[in-house]
Symmetry: C2
Subunit: 198 residues, 2 copies
């Protein structure tokens, strides 16, 4: 398998983390996330969305969007619950992550940590507000629970962990979210855990 | 079942369209999408994301995020393929829709058609550019295909149709996307189809 990857991307890290849990081998091809010229040539035939991660299976079929790749490898393993409601609850958090969390935390982190051009306060402020709203939603979601969906650690936790655990690189402060901080610890304790820098 | 709904919301329409295909009954409770005050009181116990659609099942369990609700009701029916790759391909387009499509087309439509306060060109322009990029991705995705995932109409088509078919209300022109236009026709021909205004 070949993963069109970015070492710094949390979306790519989600895939690398699940594949590490599952002990699956793959090649990594680094894609520039700052200079996006040439994306159509590189990924156009593989992923109409032209984003990383894009994964090419051993039989040549391509798959994209971190949540869909997590689903593909997770289904049938301990990382995706079997119960219909728990599966939907897991997807609820994964869609929340892509709609309400990633566009705030990941974009802030990109502006402050990756892009290399200093952003204006007007660019930062709405993302900061959205980030804290997403963290508040996570704090509410963890009330009385160890993990976000079903009974244990699932791909919803992988999806939400990717950008939450590097919130400091987005200039965010997690101290006000004790359930989120304790959950981050529980994620790190899972067997086969790897760092985003691995 | 009770659907916290908005008549004008494409995300809510996705749920209403699938439930119509499946012939399932439910109550609708209209939620204001312009004045969002009181959302925490109304939805806080049901959906940490505080968005509509939020659905309360007959046994009282809540479910949110349009894609997760579509999955819950679609799994095991003709609207979700059984093959593992086709399921992932379907989710790929559903995540694409929430990340790259809805934040552009739906937000433009909200600004021009729903909010009631005229937006500036600086607010419109990046969303317009993002909308046409998403439509180009859809046009590429439909090459040689009638529907986005698997062999037939699925919940990925429902998800993408919701805001695509009202692109005119977002000030967008679909004439340059012949495959998208033909696909919209095919979606409308599905048995049990209902309009967004139904």
């Amino acid at each position: 398998m070949l993963l069109y990857d970015s070492a710094v991307s949390g979306n790519c890290y989600k895939v690398r983390l699940l594949l590490a849990h599952l002990g699956l081998d793959y090649e990594r091809r680094e894609v520039d996330v700052v200079d996006r010229s040439g994306r159509l040539e590189l990924l156009g035939e593989l992923n109409p969305g032209l984003r990383v991660p894009t994964l090419v299976l051993e039989d040549g079929r391509p798959l994209a969007e971190s949540g869909a790749i997590l689903w593909y490898f997770g289904e049938g393993t301990r990382y995706v619950p079997e119960d219909r409601f728990e599966r939907a609850q897991m997807l609820q958090w994964m869609f929340f992550e892509q709609y309400s969390h990633e566009p705030n935390l990941a974009v802030l982190r990109f502006m402050l940590h990756v892009a290399g051009t200093p952003p204006s306060e007007a660019e930062l402020e709405p993302r900061r507000r959205g980030s804290y709203a997403a963290l508040e939603a996570m704090e509410r979601g963890l009330a009385g629970r160890d993990f976000f969906a079903g009974e244990g650690y699932s791909i919803a936790d992988i999806a939400l962990y990717a950008y939450t655990h590097v919130a400091d690189e987005a200039g965010l402060e997690l101290a006000g979210y004790p359930r989120v901080l304790a959950w981050c610890e529980r994620v790190r304790e899972q067997p086969g855990h790897v760092l985003i820098t691995a």
